[in-house]
């Protein structure tokens, strides 16, 4: 007899906020390329007698995130001390938020294979990052831990989801969509490889029909969305196997070992989670005024879901839209192309596939897109009219990037498209004669044969043939031969 099981997953996402200075002191938060221990002051070094002062922008970023995640922003928030002894904390406590976080009760919709799951957002709170430890063999040959305090005190936001996620695919979709949202509203680089986005998962497996209990396993150390998916799939298998054998699931923290492809228990002492939270006496509470929340809400950009819904309504294919809204600058650019007269469907599809290819080939990727959106709209119009073929449009675009010339100038210089019947007819006949196999395939009902033959014509005309004219010609010729 096989029992069916259900999986319950909740995610805790830590996000480094994009600010100039640290959370509670004036050290520069941009320490990524700094020498160790050079972005450090008495406050983030935890010296006696220092006083933290809250970074307003970090609070605003957290509220922006909460609003984008449909959270309530309570009027009162406070900071608390979370006490634990580990050398990544200079003070032996971390300033965090315990029972009055900045944002509560939100939700976030994620899509997997066309199905939407609404994931509850329990809370979004603000805290400080810890120092970075590396475990090494020191110069004298002894094992040691080295501490770089630069990261200590950097503003860190934690987004806690409800356990509404049921599959690794949903967890990955949540992570990817959340990363895109955080970048979209400008609160974080959200780069996982830099540690600006770190996702921990709580997961448990229960027999179908039985109530979900309290026991859960926390899984850490996933450095990519792929690792997140793999770690969760491994846990589902491991926990299901234990259930099958009648063994209990133990509440524990497990670390993902990427190279071995397994999670391993990180044995912690039973009192490891005795954090003894208490209100931070050095920070007065925050009264989050409604004016402040309203102003932040009003200044938020339109969110990816709203923009996507609009584009889909205007006829853009869902898959391309989903791809596009991962990238706000490219989305803004696409909207400008549409504004300049292009149809939404054509603009989105062409930009996601063709334009992005050409853009990615540029050496200076951080620079603004050098082509005015109106120029792309005019190229799309030339393509729609049949003045340039799809193949040629790509080449024209490459030339626009390379030379900065306008679409119409380039198209004129390349000479007109070949649409003269006689010239095309000769080429079509030649291609048919040289490709008997494709002709046979067409007779056998393989539609792709036409595409192949068209491709040959395009190759000979260097993309200058009008595609619909070619397609008609080839069909007529083939049908006449039967």
């Amino acid at each position: 007899m096989t029992t069916a099981y259900r999986t319950v997953i909740g995610l805790e996402t830590h996000v480094q906020l994009r600010t100039r200075s640290k959370m509670f002191c004036g050290c520069a938060a941009d320490y990524a390329n700094a020498r160790p221990n050079t972005h450090v002051c008495p406050v983030c070094l935890g010296m006696p007698g220092v006083l933290p002062v809250i970074n307003r922008e970090a609070v605003d970023h957290t509220i922006r995130t909460g609003l984008a995640l449909n959270c309530e922003i309570p009027e009162y928030a406070k900071f608390d001390r979370k006490n634990y002894a580990y050398p990544d904390l200079m003070k032996w406590y971390q300033i965090s938020q315990y029972d009055l976080p900045l944002c509560v009760n939100g939700h976030f919709d994620v899509e997997v294979n066309g199905a939407t799951t609404r994931v509850g957002i329990t809370r979004v709170h603000l805290e400080e990052d810890t120092a970075r430890l590396t475990h090494v063999t020191a110069a004298d040959g002894a094992p040691a831990s080295l501490i770089d305090v630069n990261r200590s005190g950097a503003p860190l936001m934690e987004i806690v989801s409800e356990p509404d996620i049921q599959t690794p695919a949903e967890a990955m979709a949540y992570g990817e969509k959340l990363r895109a949202l955080l970048r979209w509203i400008g609160v974080s680089t959200a780069n996982m490889e830099d540690g600006a986005l770190r996702i921990d998962a709580n997961i448990s497996v229960w027999p179908e029909g039985e109530p979900v209990g309290d026991v859960k396993v926390e899984v850490k150390n996933m450095n990519s969305f792929r690792s997140l998916g793999r770690a969760l799939a491994f846990e589902i298998e491991r926990q299901t196997a234990r259930r099958e054998r009648g063994q209990p699931i133990e509440q524990e923290t497990r670390g993902w070992d990427e190279s071995a492809g397994v999670t391993r228990s990180q044995r912690t002492k039973e009192y490891a989670h005795d954090y003894r939270y208490f209100p931070e006496p050095d920070l007065p509470p925050l009264h989050v005024t409604r004016q402040r929340v309203d102003a932040l809400r009003a200044a938020l950009p339109r969110l990816p879901d709203q923009v996507a819904a609009d584009l889909i309504n205007q006829g853009a294919p869902e898959a391309d839209v989903a791809e596009l809204v991962q990238d706000r600058p490219l989305t803004d650019y696409t909207l400008a192309v549409i504004e300049a007269g292009a149809s939404a469907g054509e603009a989105v599809t062409w930009i996601v596939h063709e334009f992005r290819r050409a853009l990615n080939a540029q050496t200076n990727k951080s620079a603004a897109i050098p082509i005015p959106p109106a120029e792309v709209a005019s190229l799309l119009a030339l393509r729609a009219k049949g003045s340039v073929s799809s193949t040629m449009a790509g080449e024209v675009l490459d030339e626009m990037f390379a030379t900065g010339k306008s679409a119409s100038t380039i198209v004129e210089a390349r000479g007109p498209q070949i649409s003269g019947q006689d010239e095309l007819l000769a080429i079509a006949r030649q291609v048919i004669q040289e490709n008997p196999q494709a002709v046979q395939d067409y007779r056998d009902g393989k539609g792709r044969a036409i595409q192949y033959l068209m491709g040959q014509v395009m190759r000979i005309t260097r993309g200058k043939a009008n595609p619909s004219a070619v397609s008609t010609l080839i069909r007529t010729q083939l049908d006449a031969m039967e």
Partner: protein
């Protein structure tokens, strides 16, 4: 209010303190007295007082997001027990964070 030895041991472990038997017994008494002093608060009538986490009349103390200077590296490392590669060197710890 009295506390037992295991509570003293637990607090000592959390604070990473090694205590002798004499110290544990002495602290058991002293901590009990401290808790007893706090017990006095329970005799107050707080029915009409709203809970607060803060006793000073301050709120919303925030600063602009402006980066100021940091300490020179050698000053940061001045109190370190040992230094290696510009970092604070401590005995190896297992990663349990």
């Amino acid at each position: 209010m009295s506390i037992d030895r295991s509570q003293v041991d637990h607090a000592a472990e959390l604070a990473r303190l090694e205590l002798s038997d004499d110290e544990r017994e002495r602290l058991r008494g002293e901590l009990g007295q401290i808790l007893q002093a706090f017990e006095a608060l329970n005799t107050l009538d707080t029915e009409h007082i709203s809970p607060t986490a803060q006793v000073i009349p301050l709120g919303n103390v925030e600063r602009d997001d402006v980066a100021a200077g940091s300490l020179p590296q050698d000053a940061v490392l001045d109190n370190a027990p040992r230094v290696e590669d510009g970092q604070i060197r401590v005995p190896p710890v297992l990663d349990e964070s």
